[in-house]
């Protein structure tokens, strides 16, 4: 290795580092500056509502089945007045949650969603058990126009089978009219 190339290499390294004195620093000075998070960032979990204001969750247990650490606990029931299923209790144990987003992917009604909020620090572990009143929000979250019951064929009070959008009424098997 020739002497001039060695010395040139070392001086080049020194110059390269010196350039970085003028460069802006890459650090985000949290908590004075908040990080710029994309909307698909997998942060705190929320339960969302319809555009009409009813809660979306139908207590199908898909999220709790897919959860890799079994942190979701649901008790479903059916409301008498409009025959919609809903969760009587919905508990997420955030001490176990790994924020993987599988529950959001599994949910058929787009009820459970992950938001770009990570500031959930508590001093008592029991405060990490979020119940339904902690999780339910008033808005539709990331999908503002989706109403599950309008698309699906599940019958509720006031909407028999065949009455949802893009659905044909059921065929009458006892008549031979087309």
């Amino acid at each position: 290795m020739s002497l001039t190339r060695t010395i040139g290499g070392m001086l080049g390294s020194l110059a390269a580092t010196l350039k970085h004195v003028a460069a802006p620093r890459d650090t985000v000075l949290y908590p004075e500056q908040k990080p710029d998070l994309p909307p698909r960032f997998r942060g705190r979990i929320v339960l969302t509502r319809d555009p009409d204001g009813d809660e979306r969750c139908v207590a199908c247990y898909l999220c709790s089945a897919v959860c890799p650490v079994n942190c979701i606990d649901i008790q479903g029931t059916e409301a008498a007045k409009d025959e919609r299923r809903y969760p009587k209790t919905f508990q997420i144990n955030f001490a176990r949650c790994i924020f993987c987003g599988l529950c959001e992917e599994a949910c058929p009604t787009l009820a459970i969603q992950l938001t770009p909020d990570f500031e959930m620090c508590v001093r008592d572990r029991n405060a990490l058990l979020y119940q339904k009143e902690d999780l339910l929000i008033d808005g539709p979250g990331k999908h503002p126009h989706y109403n599950f019951y309008r698309h699906s064929g599940v019958p509720i009070a006031g909407k028999p089978i065949g009455a949802s959008e893009h659905e044909a009424p059921p065929v009458d098997p006892f008549s031979n009219l087309p």
Binding site: M10, S13, L14, A16, T17, L18, H20, V21, A23, P24, R25, D26, T27, L29
Partner: protein
Amino acid sequence: MSTLLHWLLILVGLGITAVALIVVAALLVFAERRVLGLLQDRYGPNRAGPFGLMQAPADALKLLSKEAFVPPFAERFFYTLAPILVASAVLISFVVVPIGPNLGWAANINIGLLFVLAMSSLNAYGVFLGGWASNSKFPLIGSIRAIAQLISYELSLGLAVMGVVLLAGSFSLARIVEAQEIPYILLQPVGFLIFLICGVAETHRIPFDLPEAENELASGFNTEYGGMRFGLFFLGEYLGMLLISALITTLYLGGWHGPFQPWLAVPWFALKTLALVLLFFWLRASLPRLRYDQLIAFGWKFLLPVALLNIMGTALVGLLWK
């Protein structure tokens, strides 16, 4: 003034100097982290106190509050002696450094430079004893490598300095500074470079820090040390860096010389020393570490012949000039 009072005042003054040097070394630790951050597109520690300045006392308090244990397999006497040797050898070397005209504890002792070289050998003893007394694999390898490195580069260090002694005609550091009408970096550029490289090697800084590299040797001879003993090793390293910078300033950059004498003598000295310390930080951020065999080969096969040639050249020119 009675002799007793005289000596008492000297003792107190020396104590204050030692404490001031330790405070400066602690601030250098903090400054290095900030400067490395500046060179690496990040912030250093800036949370503890204004601009993070309380980081230095926070580090000191942290080390002081740790348990002062001696591992049961370690040689107790030398384990405790090693950090004391390192820190005190470097602190004692500061008495011969002239920070201003007629300002220096023993700067006009006529063997000043020899004294500094002797103290650096004691430093090598301390580093070696630390690893040896720890009675454990990583420290042993680290300390063997450390002492081989230190004695190899001490040779070239001493030889490079001989050029300055030839020019100034004295080993006394005060005399060397006074003799520098032209800073000796211009008359001895090769000697300056050799002294700089050997100085970096003597304080085992990057690129010569294999004996204590965290990712190579789990911190080398430092491994079995905790609490304030580790603190003394650490402080000894940064004080050594300050000492080498001060020596380069004294021997090659004209010491306290500069415009607006005599008011700005000490600030000039401090400025030049600080610039060299920043160079040490810059080297740390930029250069990769030398492999151990490359290190020793470089010291013996390149630096030693160049240092000898430097002396012979200086002597020849001095002979023919007259």
